[in-house]
């Protein structure tokens, strides 16, 4: 599952006749030369700091008070400031234009976006030096703002791409462009089975179709610090290149397989392995090999890692142990990459979901069909569990061993949530596969399972209406891995989502179009 992703990956075509490459260099105008005298840089910085991107409380107060049109008092209407003197005027009502004409002050700055307007050219101009100052001041203001609302979690604020000299060169030498349309199949490629490696192939398909991961690798964000050739992240990068190369023949992932065997010995060998185990092992190795990408922050340690794997896949699971005598709660939060869910039919009883039972419907599902749903599994996962008299916990409040209940909830949701249905039972007596059908939705709201929701419920605030406007906890399905067959011999296939609503079935080297119904009817 992945949080509703803004838009989708798209390359805009650069048509030769527009000659965009020459326009991309900032087009200044000669009329700024009159301004660029004496201490102009500092003056310009002050204008940006005080009236455009006010970073401090003081500048904000000053902006609030003084940024109004000197002619009509309005604060809207695209307010501009004269660059030559202290004058604010609306653009829409042409008050700034009047000032420019009367005083022959030909430059003004847009207080909303920081653009420089030249009244002689009658358009916004892009002077390289001024642009540089604007960028720096904007960055400064963002930093001062504290917790920025919507920085990309990669750690930088989104800015539009500006090619470097080297990139422009590369673009010129490679004029072929590929346009991504809504039904193009770029990114889809089969994988040859190298001998029971379908478990790996499925996970690779899921990973190469994780949008944030794809964007990370396709924009070359990995800086390798490993001396040897055995960096799995580099291999991943290569893999993305292969998948998005446009080649239609299946890829042979022998190097990837070899690296996985090297770094995750327990998965080596040609027998069938567990896809879920592979996912966790792969994420672990990738996380360990991401050392170069931290941008100088703390080295890889499980609590402070900022690598791409942690940013995308790591969530926080809260465990609350409540003493039954003094009702004191002991809370721990552990990081997780996936949620493993028990299924009905296993040796541990599934129903009822919680002591006392809870009849509310979550995510609009009903039990008319009689089948278990993913949210049933999640409700069971987050139910309060009596730990019983044989498992007493030492209570810090009572200073003695007491019976307690334990409850798991989500403290922090990952960007990509992986749910693992525990179909393979390896208990002392038997090893078998549980084939109970579990239905899952295309869209999943994790709000009921959050630690914060549990707190509101305990405080008596029953959430009767789901906050439709809040998308923070909502997920969109984008990959499903299925296993057919038995524990001894079986085969893995996967469904992955391309673009907004196109699904494909990946069976090793064979990729076929699939319907949403195929996906939702599959076992999971």
């Amino acid at each position: 599952f992945q949080v509703n992703h803004p838009g989708d990956f798209s390359l805009s075509p650069i048509k030769p006749k527009l000659n965009v490459l020459s326009v991309m260099s900032p087009a200044g105008c000669s009329h700024v030369n009159g301004y660029k005298v004496d201490n102009w840089k500092q003056n310009l910085r002050v204008i940006y700091q005080c009236f455009v991107w006010s970073g401090t409380a003081e500048t904000r107060r000053r902006k609030a008070k003084s940024c109004i049109c000197h002619m009509c008092g309005a604060h809207l209407n695209r307010l501009h400031s004269c660059l030559y003197c202290v004058f604010f005027g609306c653009f829409t009502k042409k008050h700034i234009h009047e000032h420019a004409k009367n005083k022959r002050h030909n430059l003004a700055i847009d207080l909303l976006y920081g653009g420089i307007y030249c009244f002689v050219c009658q358009d916004y101009i892009y002077d390289k030096d001024m642009e540089q100052i604007a960028k720096e001041e904007q960055r400064k203001a963002w930093k001062l703002q504290g917790t920025p609302l919507l920085f990309l979690r990669i750690g930088e604020k989104y800015t539009t791409w500006e090619p470097t000299k080297r990139e422009l060169e590369l673009l010129r030498h490679n004029p072929k462009r590929r346009k991504i349309t809504t039904n193009c199949t770029i990114g889809l490629r089969g994988l040859i089975n190298l001998g029971n490696t379908c478990f790996m192939n499925c996970i690779v398909q899921a990973l190469t179709h994780t949008p944030l991961l794809r964007d990370f690798f396709l924009s070359d964000r990995h800086k390798c610090e490993m001396q040897s050739n055995s960096c799995l992240v580099c291999e991943m990068s290569q893999l993305f290149q292969e998948f998005y190369s446009g080649h239609r023949s299946p890829h042979i992932p022998f190097r990837l397989l070899h690296l996985v065997w090297t770094h995750a010995r327990h998965l080596a060998g040609y027998e069938q392995q567990d896809a879920h185990e592979f996912l966790i092992a792969a994420l672990d190795v990738l996380h360990r090999h991401c050392k170069g990408d931290d941008n100088g922050k703390k080295a890889n340690n499980p609590n402070h890692c900022n690598c791409i794997i942690d940013q995308i896949f790591t969530g926080g699971l809260q465990s609350d142990v409540t003493c039954q005598v003094c009702h004191g709660v002991s809370t721990t939060i552990d990081p997780f990459w996936d949620i493993s869910l028990d299924l009905p039919g296993s040796s541990t009883p599934f129903w009822p979901l919680s002591p006392g039972g809870d009849g509310s419907t979550v995510n609009g599902e009903s039990h008319l069909s009689g089948s278990t749903t993913l949210t049933d599994c999640l409700r069971r996962f987050t139910r309060p569990e009596h730990l019983g008299s044989s498992a007493k916990i030492k209570c810090g409040g009572c200073h003695s061993y007491q019976e307690s209940t334990k409850q798991l909830t989500m403290k922090k949701l990952p960007i990509v949530a992986c749910f693992h249905l525990k179909r393979f039972e390896h208990s002392a007596k038997l090893r078998r596969k549980i084939t109970t059908y579990v239905s899952f939705p295309l869209e999943l709201d994790m709000t009921p399972f959050m630690a914060s929701s549990k707190e509101s419920r305990m405080n008596g605030q029953y959430q009767q209406t789901v906050d439709v406007l809040n998308n923070d906890n909502k997920y969109s399905l984008f990959a499903v891995v299925n296993h057919q067959g038995t524990l001894e011999s079986g085969h893995y296939t996967s469904f992955i989502r391309q673009h907004k609503d196109q699904w494909f079935k990946c069976d090793d080297a064979i990729i076929t179009k699939a319907s949403i119904k195929d996906v939702l009817d599959s076992e999971g």
Binding site: N4, S54, R60, K63, A64, H75, P148, L469
Partner: protein
């Protein structure tokens, strides 16, 4: 200035002072990107540029062309959410 515009000015002052205006701008930017509005506007801009010719088009031309369409295409849910945020903020900081 009319009473309404005076009220607007006061609200704007408060929002700016407390940095809420910037936060709302960011929220709006994200919401409009998420729902595809930004891409729609970008596509429309490209059309206008093609029509007018890259050498002759000004920012003003683009503004005039896309403002009405842009205003109309903002989803109601986004408007509702922003309104809700502003109301909540004003309630919190009522003088």
């Amino acid at each position: 200035m009319s009473k309404e515009s005076r009220m607007k000015a006061t609200i704007n002052q408060k929002l700016t002072e407390m940095g809420e205006r910037e936060r709302l701008k960011e929220l709006l930017r994200a919401k409009l990107t998420e729902c595809g509005w930004k891409d729609q506007m970008k596509a429309h801009c490209k059309e206008v540029i093609k029509e007018k010719g890259l050498e002759h088009v000004t920012v003003e031309d683009l503004m005039v062309e896309i403002t009405p369409k842009g205003r109309a295409l903002v989803p109601d849910s986004v408007k509702k959410e922003l309104l809700h945020r502003i109301r909540a903020f004003l309630a919190q900081h009522a003088t």
